[in-house]
Every structure is written in structure tokens, then in C-alpha cells.
Symmetry: C2
Subunit: 306 residues, 2 copies
């Protein structure tokens, strides 16, 4: 594994010198290390680049790491990762992606994820995205996530794009059976000429299923962000979505959330707020000795942490 | 004017036996009465069916009535109404539409409205829509509204679809100059197999312009409603939209509000809530002696009045 990979892994997956438990490290489209455990079996996918990850019902409070790095330009990495999560399993998946290029050439990671959660399974899926390296050389991270949640399962998606990604396009779809729950917590920071687009489509098909989508955006520089969501309540269910955005400089945000209630027992709520940092917040922090720029940074940091 | 028209006018425009001030009554595509006043001149539009209404700056706290009725099947009424509202004028426009058919044939009213509000003009535009007559015979009311609001002008649109309209499609667009304000308060009740679709597109182009869209829907029976809005904040401005819907029976609602902030000084907020009437509300009214059906009716009445 090269030095840039190590640095990226540190940022996206808290990597020090090793991972505990199951892991697979993807480096420029190749496998740079892998370990299965008795309850988490990581296999090479047949017929397409990527992994098939079998998590057995016995996996309880286990973690699997599957970070991916692109460390130079001229790489267009495409990976398919399929997760089969057994009934009642309880796992954390750490799946960040770091893209670096300093050559002037484009570096790109494209991840296609499928989740199959058996009854009562619980998955916390954490994903940090970052781009590094000088400006000459575009960094792109795109992802498609498709999740099937069987009865009583619970999928928590926690994603964060820290910075330096020139463009990202994320499409997430999920279908929920009875009493299944999906929560998505997305935070995206863009600056310069970066663009970020996210699409969520969630179909609640089983009684008492629930979804909670929370998106927080910061658009600085001349960056542009788009948020689209479509929550469909086709039965007795509850859905909530919230998208808040902070604008700075010449950043722009488009928020387009959609709620469809196809049943009178569907309860759906949406909230959105877009604006700049309130002047009073800046003044308050300046009285504590911070410069205006420091105050702004602190506020944005807090906003994206929450 | 025929009896059905009189009845419809009573419902949509509080008509008793005459209107005070300026008015034009449209009955099955013909003019059934008109009066101009010194400050409000109503003229026949040239080259297309409809009216050109000139409201002078001198019009202060005046009202103009321009209701339209379709009283039998086989009518497909199309009307263009252009409103030129002088600087500083302050008027109320009562513009309801009633459609009746009992013949089994379709009755349709299609209204295309253009508003030009000069600097500082204030217009309250009130519109009630209703369909009456037996079920054999469809009633359709469609409308397109395009508004240009110059500096410091204020347009209040207050619309209510009371019931009996098989399908409605409403498209409203507005462009706001500096300090112009637009408020829209829309209430739609659908039942049986009725459908209602509304689209709002508002572009805030002048500093300190503001928009407030409030939509309240009740979808009963097997009716279907769609709400789409797009608020664009292209400068320092504020926008708020809110769509609340009550579902009953097999009614469905799709709410798709979109916010675009193209400037860091645009402050945009959206809220939406869709659901059925809370059980506690029904219980509370039942303890006061109402039946369940009466309680439901009371709650819906209050919801659409607010």
C-alpha cells in the first residue's frame, strides 16, 4: 500500500496501521489487503469488479472496513459491493473513499452498493468522502446505493463529504418492508467550482415502516449543490425529511424534496431551510476573540457535525 | 342571466342581485353584464376571448367582480383576462368560477390571467371554484396565472376549490422586482375520483422581494392531488412555502416543493405535512356530542378555513 493510500485511509476510516476484524482495502482498483472473520466473509464478486460480503446472523457488534482509494490520475475505478446481512445481525460498515490526483489527470471512483438486510438485521453504514492533491486534476466520486430492508431491519447511513471532491453524484434507493427503518444522515461541503448532486428514493411498502432523511449542506465559493428526495408512503408508515443548507460566497443550493402519500395512514413531514450564517452568530463568536473567518469556520464545523 | 348562473354566482362571488362597483359576468362564454367605473375600466380583449381590465392609480379600496359560469354541458370556455394595475392602486378582484352540467356532457372553464402590477400597487385576488350538478357530466376548471410585480407591489392570491370539480390544473408563475411581495393561500378539497394539480413558479429577482405560498389540501374518496412549487431566490430575498394535506378514505397527495437559492442572501424555508386527522381530535369533538362523521367534517372545515 502506498503512502497516499495510508494518509487517505487515516482520514476516511481512522486507519492507523491495521484494521481490527474483517476488512478489504481497495487501492487503484486492486485489492491491497483483505481479511474475513468467522461471521463476516468477504469474497471477490464474479463477473464484475468488487466484493460480495456475507454477514451471518452471528455477527453482533462487529465492524467491517471496506475503504477504497484512488491515489493518482488516469484511474477510473468502478466497484460493485454487495452486502448480504443475515437475520438479526448487528454490524458497522466503514466504507469511505479517498481520491487523490496531482498529475493533472482525472481520478474517479464509482461505487455501486447493494444491501440486502434480512429480518431484524441492523447495519450502520459510515462513509467519508474526500479529494486531495493539487487543483490540476479533477477528483470525482459517484455512488449508487440500492437497499432492500426486510421486516424489522434497520439501516443507518451516515455519509460525509469533507472536501476536495470536484463532482459527486449520489443515488440512493430503498424499499422497506413492515417495521423496517431507514435513517440517512448526509453532510456535504463544497467549495470552489465543485458540484454535488444527491437523489433519494424511498418506498415504504410494509406497515409501520419509517424513514428519516437528514441532509446538511454547505456551499462555498462558486460551488453548486442539488438535493432531490422522493419519499413514498404506500401503507401505514411514517416519513420525515429535512434539508438544511448554509450558503457562502457565490454558492448555490437547489432543494427538491417530494412526499407521496398513497395511503391515509401514511404520515409524512418535510422541512427545508436555506440561508447564510446569521450575523448574530458571527458577532457572538467575535466577542469571544475569533476573527470573522474563524467564526464562520466554527459555525460550519458545528453545523456539519450535528 | 339564467337561474343556475345566479346560484353559482352566489356561491363563488357572494352575489345577491347586483354587484357594487365595476363588474363583468361571463356566462357560457358570453358577457351577461358589465360595468366600468371611473377608476376601473373593463374592455373586451382584442384578438382573443376575454377582458382587459385597466385599474388606475386613483382606485383605492375598490372592488371589481369578474366571475365566470358555465351552466351546461358541451361548453369549453376559454378566457384571457389581463389586469393592468396602476402605481399605488389598492383593489380587490373577485374572480370565482362555477361550472355546472347535468346533461352527461362535459363542461369546462379555462382561464388565463395576466397581472401587471405597477410600483406600489396592491391587489387582493380572490377566487372560488366549484362544480355542481349530477355526476354524469364532467366539470373541469383549469387556470394559468402569470404575474409581473414591479417594485414595492403586493399581490395576494386567495383561492379555494370548494368541491365538485372533476379535474383542475393550475399553473401560476410570478416574477418579483425589488421589495415586491406575493402571498398565495390555496385550499383545495377533492373527493370521489377527482384530481387536482397545482404548479407554482416564483422568481425573486429584486432585492428584498418576498414570497409566501400556503397550500392546504383535503383528499377524500379516491381523489388525487399534486402540489409542485419552485421558489427561486436570485438575490437578497425571502421565501416561505408550506403545504399541509389531510387524507381520508383512499385519497392520495403528492407534494413536491423546490427551493433554489442562487444567492447567499436568499433565505428560503419550506414545510410540508401530510397525514390523516389525528384520532384525539375526533375523540375530543365526539365527547362534545358530535358523531364521528360530523367531527371529521368540522375539522376539515376548520383546516380549509384557516
Amino acid at each position: 500500500m502506498n503512502k497516499i493510500s495510508k494518509k487517505l485511509l487515516q482520514i476516511i476510516a481512522d486507519f492507523t496501521d491495521e484494521f481490527r476484524g474483517a476488512f478489504n482495502i481497495r487501492e487503484n482498483g486492486e485489492c491491497a489487503g483483505r481479511r474475513s472473520t468467522p461471521n463476516i466473509r468477504i469474497e471477490t464478486k464474479e463477473g464484475a469488479p468488487g466484493l460480495v460480503i456475507h454477514i451471518s446472523s452471528e455477527a453482533q457488534k462487529e465492524t467491517v472496513y471496506i475503504p477504497a482509494c484512488v491515489t493518482h490520475g488516469g484511474v477510473d475505478d468502478l466497484v460493485y459491493n454487495d452486502f448480504y446481512v443475515g437475520a438479526g445481525a448487528d454490524v458497522t460498515i466503514i466504507a469511505g473513499c479517498g481520491v487523490h490526483t496531482g498529475s493533472g489527470e482525472t481520478a474517479r471512483h464509482n461505487g455501486i452498493h447493494s444491501f440486502f438486510l434480512e429480518k431484524g438485521a441492523h447495519v450502520l453504514y459510515k462513509e467519508r468522502h474526500i479529494g486531495t492533491g493539487p487543483e490540476n486534476g479533477k477528483k470525482h466520486i459517484d455512488s449508487v446505493t440500492d437497499a432492500v430492508l426486510l421486516e424489522d431491519s434497520f439501516l443507518e447511513i451516515d455519509t460525509k463529504q469533507i472536501g476536495g471532491v470536484d463532482s459527486t453524484l449520489r443515488k440512493t434507493t430503498a424499499r422497506l418492508a413492515a417495521r423496517a427503518r431507514l435513517t440517512v444522515h448526509e453532510r456535504i461541503l463544497t467549495e470552489k467550482e465543485e458540484t454535488a448532486k444527491t437523489y433519494f428514493t424511498v418506498s415504504m411498502d410494509g406497515e409501520d415502516s419509517a424513514v428519516d432523511l437528514i441532509s446538511r449542506s454547505v456551499a462555498k465559493g462558486a460551488s453548486r449543490q442539488e438535493y432531490h428526495s422522493r419519499i413514498m408512503g404506500n401503507c401505514r408508515c411514517s416519513g420525515h425529511s429535512e434539508c438544511d443548507a448554509i450558503l457562502a460566497d457565490r454558492g448555490t443550493v437547489n432543494a427538491a424534496p417530494e412526499l407521496f402519500a398513497g395511503c391515509m395512514d401514511a404520515a409524512l413531514i418535510h422541512e427545508a431551510a436555506i440561508g447564510k450564517i446569521a450575523g448574530e452568530q458571527i458577532i457572538k463568536l467575535r466577542t469571544l476573540g475569533l476573527t470573522e473567518a474563524e467564526a464562520e469556520e466554527k459555525i460550519i464545523e458545528g453545523f456539519l457535525r450535528a
